[in-house]
Every structure is written in structure tokens, then in C-alpha cells.
């Protein structure tokens, strides 16, 4: 033991000392710790789910935490699939998904489920073609063909047809998709199923489907990162991720044959084309408006109908109300579409039903 004491202890003590010294030098630390210790005991809410609205949610939760230091909402963006599963297993206080839960999925939660649409956004096709300067237009045949693995070169005639006067490179197309169960995948593949028989009878729609010849990344960030790192890549991500990472997005052909670029207005236009039913579930697979961007979705917070812990319940309600109120103000900056007033009203009504 003598030997151990003489060597390990000084080293351990030095390391610990260095850490302590470093911490005490940094003024923010103890100060912040003291501030919180004077407040009441912290309430923590745990949520997992979609990566699609994660930047917005995490912005809400950090802002809320700044105003109410006693409330911590830990949101882990693992994908909608994980969100729904962990919500069903009661591993979290709330879930999040951009694929609304199906009746079957809701039946697995005995105390009942309340789905609250919290924001909306567009799914865009971002690409990495460094030599291409003009914006790319993709017809319905083109983007279905790319993800079916039928169109493999960027200078394919199907793509060229919609882009007259543009020199398309002779490089291979590398589709990038999601490796995890994803609401974004669900929205994208539901749209593809709605516009293409070949897709419907082939890969189909779902939170994770079999894409031929694609590489897969984890979450919206993972897909965005892969597109960014891979010349010749194209993949589907939430609008905000493409904007924030400065990646070009293709203008897509909508139902009325117009090529529409994703932005706030074309997204709002698409949302306007559907009426939310009483249960607040709606799938916008192919909006009809002439100026609608074709792939748009609401995204939902999954709450239990009944909570045992009254403090958790009160906190959750307060946080959601913050998101529906002041929180909507962050939407345009981060690339989301603020909820229409009637949806916010409906949300508040549903929120009152949680006890």
C-alpha cells in the first residue's frame, strides 16, 4: 500500500487541485450555482423525440430556463421513432414527433395521449454540387427517381429537362437518408407515396423505410452533415438545417406543376390548404395551393392525458404555454413556420384537458 500511496495520491491530488483551481478562477460558476441554490428545488422535465423541431424546442427550453432557473427541460433529439417509443414506455415526461401518433400507437398508452402541434416546417432537398451556381429545379419524376435509385447521374435527362441552360455535372448522385426512425422520413416518404405509385408499391411510407443505394446519417443534423461533407450528395432535411448550414436547396415541382422554393410564405401557403380536425392530427401529403411548397408538416408534442406529479404537470403546462405564446416568435429566425392563430387556440383548449 505504501507504494500506491506515494504515487497515486499526489497525482490524483494534483489533478483534483488543478480542476478545482480552474473552476474557482471562472467566476460564472460558483455565482450561478449560488443563484440557483437560493431558489426553490429544481423541477426537471425529460423529453425525447424529433430532431426536426429540436433547434426551436431547445431554444424555448433554454430561454425558459433563463427566466425560470428552477425549471429544467432536458430535450434529447433522438428522432421521432425514439420519441414515440420512449413516450410509450413512460421513460420520459413528454415526447415529440413529426409523424403524429397513429391510433394503434396511442392505444399502447393507458392513460391517454394528447397531441399538440407546436410548430410547422418544410422538408427540403439540400444538395452538394460545388460547381453548380444556378439554383436547381427538380420535377416530381426527378426526385422520386433519385430516391428510388433509378436516376444515378446528375446530368440525367430527367433532371436536365427541368433545368434548361444549366450545365449539370457528370457526377454520381449520392442520396442521403436517415439511419434512425424519423418523422422527417415519414413526412418525406408519405409525400413520395402520394405522388408516385412506384414509390407506394416499393419502399412505401414510414418512419424508417428501405431506401435503395443511400448512405444514412443520424437525425436531421447527421443528414445535413453528410450532405455537407459529400460532393454529389442530396438529402432531405428540415428547412432550418439547410439555411443554417448554408446549403443550397432544390425548388420542387408542386401539385399544380410550379417549381417552388421553400420559404416562410410557400410553407404558410401549404399549411393553409389543410384544416386541422378536432384531434389535431393532419397529414399534409401533397398540398393543393398553386404557390404551396409540396413537403410541409406540423410537428407534435406528445403529452399524457394524466400526470401523477402536480408540480410536473403545472411546469409542463407553463412551458407549453410559453412555446405557444412568446416561443412562436423564434420560429421564422430558425426556419420554422409560426402556427396559425386557430391552431394555437385549439392547442390551448387541448392543453386544458390535461390533468
Amino acid at each position: 500500500m505504501r507504494i500506491a500511496r506515494t504515487t497515486a495520491m499526489p497525482i490524483a491530488a494534483t489533478v483534483a487541485g488543478l480542476i478545482l483551481a480552474g473552476l474557482s478562477l471562472h467566476r460564472g460558476w460558483p455565482a450561478r450555482a449560488r443563484l440557483v441554490s437560493e431558489a426553490q428545488a429544481a423541477t426537471t422535465l425529460q423529453g425525447t423525440g424529433a430532431t426536426f423541431p429540436a433547434p426551436l424546442y431547445q431554444k424555448w427550453f433554454t430561454e425558459y430556463n433563463k427566466a425560470h432557473p428552477d425549471v429544467e427541460v432536458n430535450y434529447q433529439a433522438l428522432g421521432s421513432g425514439a420519441g414515440i417509443k420512449q413516450f410509450q414506455q413512460h421513460l420520459v415526461d413528454f415526447g415529440a414527433s413529426d409523424a403524429a401518433m397513429t391510433d394503434e400507437e396511442m392505444a399502447a398508452v393507458p392513460e391517454g395521449v394528447v397531441l399538440l402541434p407546436m410548430t410547422a416546417g418544410s422538408v427540403v432537398l439540400a444538395y452538394n454540387l460545388p460547381d453548380l451556381t444556378q439554383p436547381l429545379k427538380l420535377s416530381r419524376d426527378a426526385y422520386v427517381g433519385i430516391f428510388l435509385g433509378r436516376i444515378t447521374q446528375w446530368n440525367d435527362p430527367t433532371i436536365a429537362k427541368a433545368n434548361p441552360g444549366v450545365t449539370l455535372p457528370d457526377t454520381r448522385i449520392q442520396p442521403v437518408v436517415r439511419s434512425d426512425g424519423s418523422g422527417t422520413t415519414f413526412v418525406f416518404t408519405s409525400h413520395l407515396s402520394a405522388i408516385s405509385e412506384a414509390w407506394k408499391s416499393g419502399p412505401g411510407a414510414g418512419k424508417s423505410v428501405n431506401f435503395p443505394s443511400a448512405v444514412a446519417g443520424k437525425g436531421n443534423p447527421g443528414v445535413a452533415a453528410l450532405i455537407k461533407q459529400t460532393p454529389g450528395a442530396i438529402g432531405y432535411v428540415e428547412y432550418g438545417y439547410a439555411i443554417q448550414t448554408h446549403m443550397p436547396m432544390a425548388a420542387l415541382e408542386n401539385k399544380s406543376g410550379k417549381y417552388i422554393t421553400a420559404d416562410l410564405n410557400s410553407g404558410k401557403d401549404a399549411l393553409g390548404s389543410v384544416e386541422l380536425p378536432a384531434n389535431l392530427r393532419a397529414w399534409i401529403t401533397d398540398p393543393t395551393g398553386a404557390n404551396s411548397y409540396p413537403i410541409v408538416t406540423y410537428t407534435w408534442l406528445l403529452c399524457y392525458k394524466k400526470y401523477k406529479d402536480p408540480q410536473k404537470l403545472a411546469t409542463l403546462k407553463a412551458v407549453i404555454e410559453y412555446g405557444l405564446g412568446a416561443g412562436q416568435g423564434f420560429s421564422p429566425d430558425l426556419g420554422y413556420i409560426p402556427l396559425p392563430p386557430n391552431v394555437i387556440e385549439a392547442d390551448k383548449k387541448a392543453l386544458a384537458g390535461i390533468s
Partner: protein, 363 residues
Amino acid sequence: MTPARAEAVREIFRPGGPADERTLLSTGSDISQAPSAGEVAADRFFRAATMAVAWFTVFLVFWVVLSIGRQALPSLRTYGVAFLTDTVWDANRNAFGILPAIVGTLYSSILGLVIGTIFGLAIAIFLSEKFLATGLDACLAFLGLADNAWFASLPSRLENLLRITIELLAAIPSVVYGLWGIFIVIPIIRPPANWLHAHLGWIPFFGTSLSGPGLLPASIVLAIMVLPTISAISRDALVAVPPKLREAAFGMGATRWEAILAIFLPTAATGIFGAVILGFGRALGETMALAMLAGNANVISWSLFSPANTLAALLANHFPEAGKPEVAALMYAALVLLAITLIVNIVGTLILQRAEAGLKGLR
């Protein structure tokens, strides 16, 4: 026995201490004392406790296998052997098959192993056959420094440094290698890989272009991770080659490499093979490097540049979100992975034991 007397025992036998029974006896005539009833009871309890813990570690293995096996049972019943040969993983249709993941696991591991073995063996030979020492000795003699004590010890110190550096490779966490792979390996190998595809695309190994993640970058990182295992164990095997074989080979006038290739390597072959198998076991179970670099695509391809999937990466990606039937399928996949790694590791350990036994006869 009092702590003071225990201290006396340790003091007497301390390395460099007065290890002499006479000293022990002279420390006191009442040194020996029968244990009290309380001490005997404590002894019984402690022994029983260690035995319980020993049993528990054995039980732990069964517990792991059972907890995975029990949850895999439903899918074992539903999918049977077809699970191993189906190629589709589609949670929507409850269609689960892990052939691409099995192929990807084996392909990436074997590829990583081939690269890792070439380099690992080179290092083992380099370190065990005193290449560095002879080379440096020649340099020192040339510079007239061979008699200088500090310089004379330099070769062995450098050799030690090299060995520790290689061991350092094993200490770096796999997630750090994954990070490095994404930002260094992929950009470096992309141009040559795509040149190979463009010019030699008719060879199945170069059948696709490398867009980013894929088998080759994953295998390169795997190779780095198995290299320390292979080089360390192979070096031990080569060092264990009996000196008389060594002397006999050189005495017959063999060049250094004739001796290595014809005598040393065959003698150490079993040990080296065991090292390779253990490296294989490590590569098979590696998760992070593959999940980060292989591309997570459920395809089977001969191409080194194609994205792929592995059993461990499949688990890492799908487990957090899987519904009931998919969890059962994943547990089945986990069971397959467990079986493969268990077999490989047991075979590797047995081979190493045999290598040791085989060399005993030669000594």
C-alpha cells in the same frame, strides 16, 4: 492478528527488506496466537462472501445471455433461420433480416484485420528482431559514439518508446477515432478511391465510387484499433522463439530474413494466429467507428467503397427507437453478434494456450 503484526510481516518481506525468518522470530516470542472465535466467524463470513461473488461473476455471463436471449425468443420463433438470410430490415412491415449486417460485420472486420495484420506483424518483427537497435548501433558506430554510455542505451530506450507509442494507439477511445475518420480519413482516401473506381471499376472491389462513409474508411480505422493487439501478442510470440533455434538458424548462415521467414515466423505461427483471431474478436464487436464511418446502409456489395451496415451499428442506431417486434428482432441480432464474438474469442484463447504449450517442448 493485530494490524501491527500484519505490518511486521509486510515490512519483513518488503522488496529489499530484511526477508529473513530469523528477523521475524526475533520480533517477539508471542508472535503466534490462535485466532479468537470472532475472528474465525469473520473469516467464515468473508470466505463465503468471496465465493458468492465468484459465483456471481459466472452468473453474470448467464444473466447477459439470458436477458438478451429471453427478449430474442419471440423473434427466434417468428423468423427462425430465415432471419439470418433475409436482406430487408423494414420495421413498417415487420420484415427483419440481418444478412447485410452479418456480411458487413464480417467484411469490414476481415478487411480491417488484413490491413491491421500486415502492419501489426511488421511492427512485431521490427521490435522483436532488434531492427531499430542494429540500425542505430551501426549509425552510432559510424559516428563514433558507440562507447558513450548515454548513446549506447539510446536504441533500447527508443525501442521501448516505440512499443509504448504503439500501445498508446489502443488507449485512444474508438469514438475519437471515429471523429478523426470523418474529418481526416474520408477526405484523404476519397480522391484515390474515386480514381480507382473510374479506371478500374470493372474489378468488383472498386465497383462503386466512395462518396463519403463506406467500408474502406471504417476498415482502416478498425485496422488501427486491432493493430496494437496483434503487434503486442505477435511480438510476445516472436520473442518466445527459443534462443537455440535462433542461434542455429544464424549459425547455418541464414540471412536475417531467411531466418525470420523460414524459422521464426513458422515457430511463432500459432501465437500469431491466436493474436489475429483475438484482433478479429475485437473488430467484430466494435460499434462506434462503424456507426460513424460505415454509412449505415443495408446493402451487400463487394465494393470497398460501398456503404455498409454491421450488427453492432444496427443495434446502436435502431435500439433507442424500436417498437416491440423490432426490439425482439434486434435482440436476435444481438444474440447472433454475441454468438459470433464468443466463438471467435474462445477459439483465439484456445489457440494461444496451444501455442504456449507447443513452445514448451522446444525449450
